[in-house]
Amino acid sequence: MATRISRSRPWAVVALGGAATLLAAACGSGSGSGSGNSASAPGITATTVTIGSTQPLTGPAALGYSEIAPASKAYFQYVNAHGGVNGRSINYIYLDDGYVPSNTPTQTRKLVLQDNVYAIFSALGTPTHLAVVNYLNSAKVPDVLVSSGCNCWNNVSQYPYTFGFQPDYTIEGKILGQYIKQTYPGMKVGYFAQGPNDEFGTDGIAGLNDQLQGSGVTVLSPPQYYPPTAAGAAAVKSAIATLQLQGAQVIAAFSVPLFTAIAEATAAALNYHPIFVVSNVGSDPPTLTKILTGGALGVTLPAALITGMVSDAYEPVVSDSSNPWVQLFKSIKNQYAPSLPWDGNVFYGMNQAYTFVQALKAAGQNPSRDDLVHAIQNSHWRGPGLVPFGFSSSSHLGLLGVQIDKTNADGSQTTMGPVYTTDDTSSGAITQYTGTPATPPSNGIPSD
């Protein structure tokens, strides 16, 4: 009801949302506007939808990533305070797996078997989620918007219930590679990546190679790696020093933020100033700026180290305070999760939550689990993402492309050039995306 009014009279929905909140408060958790609601699936009652997630809340991967789930939760709280989805409030349970793959199966089964969740949402990490993706699909539990850029989530025949979210690392690699060959022709390009034999690094490098091999830039070999297991930090100096000795003018990096920071600081310490081209995962400027401007190099580097760093984004840059999505999410963060910092991780968590609300609304008044899957497959909705999702009945690929951006002296970013879309095959062309960006609905909650 509320959403129908919103199309014509935005102010009305605010009033109505407020009234609904009051009503919900007055009646306890009771029947806000849930008339006609039934317990249509596990995790769904007349008044609630329970969803779950596994996240690295402790351990090294918690640095930064532990903000994502609280950010999603803040958005759900906002939606709940404004009447919920189809009269149901969203109850979001996220459990810690410490980014250890052997912890994830227990926590996921707790969510599915004990907490009886409707769907798994935003589960984070490639090795961790690979440990449960078979289980979730054999149990027919929707496994939506996985927080990882592995192309493994797009496997409709084997994993019909699993959906990706962000562009996979090969898509990122291809578009970054295209930028490098167009912008730095004839230069020497070195790779710095998580690995060897880690899909984040490997897939990213595959995308880069797709564009760079035989293109006029010189790709240095072998790629330099830091291991994702032990003694990673001790390995960075030799990796960067090797690239310096080889004369790399551009370093294309598929690394997590901590290791991007260590790599950039190490390069500076070596009096080495290559152009860093960093994948989205490792390039969140607020995170990097905070890490690198604290004097860790012992000298004040004006304009910090990350000035001029090239990266890619599939979401609006968080420093762009004129962007309506940034305004919306920042104000929700300030109200519902004031202790969180304002950075790309928080935006990411809210973006996922927004997308999930879209999916839940599209799944219908009393959805089954399969209804959610069908709703996502048939979706054409737009949200904060710069490009559309690749969802269809034959593809569960998430966002299909990125835009290149450059980091400025103050840590803000400037986008450069058009938004590109592509797929993760080597034959898939990179095409310019010409659609207009979506604007948020006035009440901040997706309409049907």
Binding site: S66, A231, G232, S238, A269, L270, N271, G295, A296, G298
Partner: protein, 292 residues
């Protein structure tokens, strides 16, 4: 050749940080026959204390000294409150106790200071020096790292070898019964030993943080490699600890540089096993086995 130089300097500076941890482990081992697995976590925690006070306006060097003092206090309290009761118990009790302390401190730090990576300032420039246009492969901070660890080592040597209190501490560690008969307050000496070791650890934490950045588990690998170095050198020998730790630092740096970063821990395992197979009590350890 240039690569070799870079890897060598990197190996030595990392090795000095490992050496500080290794020496701290050896001091505690000699005093109380306990391996302090929480050494790295304690260093991480005191570095967070420095970070916190510096963030709140304390001058850097005062924060530095506060961290060292905090290390001293944390070491003393740990020995007096936690370790003393288990000293007479089987060795495993102390192992589990220090592991418990390690886990607790790594959980407490993000509770108090947040779960984000922090930048800990370096007191001197980390940018490599140049001399007449040629790049040298070390920075002022590298000099400070090597120099400060060496300096503390010399001070400790003087303390142990040239002062009465050092003599008492050695006596208390070597033979507590006789030391007690001689009127030495053995308990106090052991507490002091732990405190000084933790101070050394705190220094390692302050030196590692600008390079590794500051987060709750940032000292884990430093502890592992410091411990490996101490074992290679022989737990009875402070000189051995330093030599072993430098060796580990260099080995890790060369293996990562020339063979591949993912093989570095395997390299350190192989060296450790090779040394232990020839000398089961480390390079500088006593050849005669105590048990036999």
């Amino acid at each position: 050749m240039r690569a070799f130089l870079i890897y060598t300097v990197d190996g030595v500076t990392n090795g000095m940080v490992y050496a500080a941890v290794a020496l701290a482990l050896v001091m505690i081992w000699r005093a109380t026959r306990i391996i302090n697995y929480a050494q790295g976590a304690m260093a991480m925690f005191t570095t967070y204390i420095a970070f916190f006070v510096i963030e709140h306006g304390t001058p850097f060097w005062l924060g530095f000294v506060i961290a060292l003092a905090a290390g001293l206090a944390l070491g003393a309290v740990t020995e007096r409150v936690l370790v003393r009761p288990v000293e007479s118990r089987p060795a495993l009790s102390a192992v589990i106790l220090t592991l418990g302390l390690l886990i607790f401190l790594e959980a407490l730090a993000p509770m108090l200071f947040g779960a984000q990576v922090q930048s800990f300032p370096a007191p001197f420039s980390r940018i490599d020096l140049t001399a007449g246009g040629t790049q040298l492969y070390f920075s002022r901070f590298d000099i400070f790292t090597v120099g400060s660890v060496l300096c503390v080592m010399v001070l400790l040597f003087v303390l142990f070898q040239r002062t009465t209190i050092g003599l008492r501490m050695r006596a208390a560690a070597f033979n507590p019964e006789i030391a007690r008969i001689l009127g030495i307050r053995v308990g106090r000496m052991l507490t002091l030993g732990w405190a000084l070791a933790a101070l050394l650890g705190a220094l390692a934490g302050l030196l590692a943080a600008p390079v590794l950045f500051l987060y709750p588990t940032n000292m884990d690998e430093v502890l592992v490699f410091g411990f490996t170095g101490a074992i290679i050198g022989g737990l009875e020998s402070p000189v051995g600890a330093v030599v072993g730790a430098l060796g580990v630092g260099l080995a890790l740096s060369y293996v990562s540089g020339f063979l591949g970063s993912d093989l570095a821990p395997l390299g350190s395992l192989l060296i450790l096993m090779a040394v232990l197979m020839i000398r089961p009590r480390g390079l500088f350890g006593m050849t005669r086995q105590r048990q036999v």
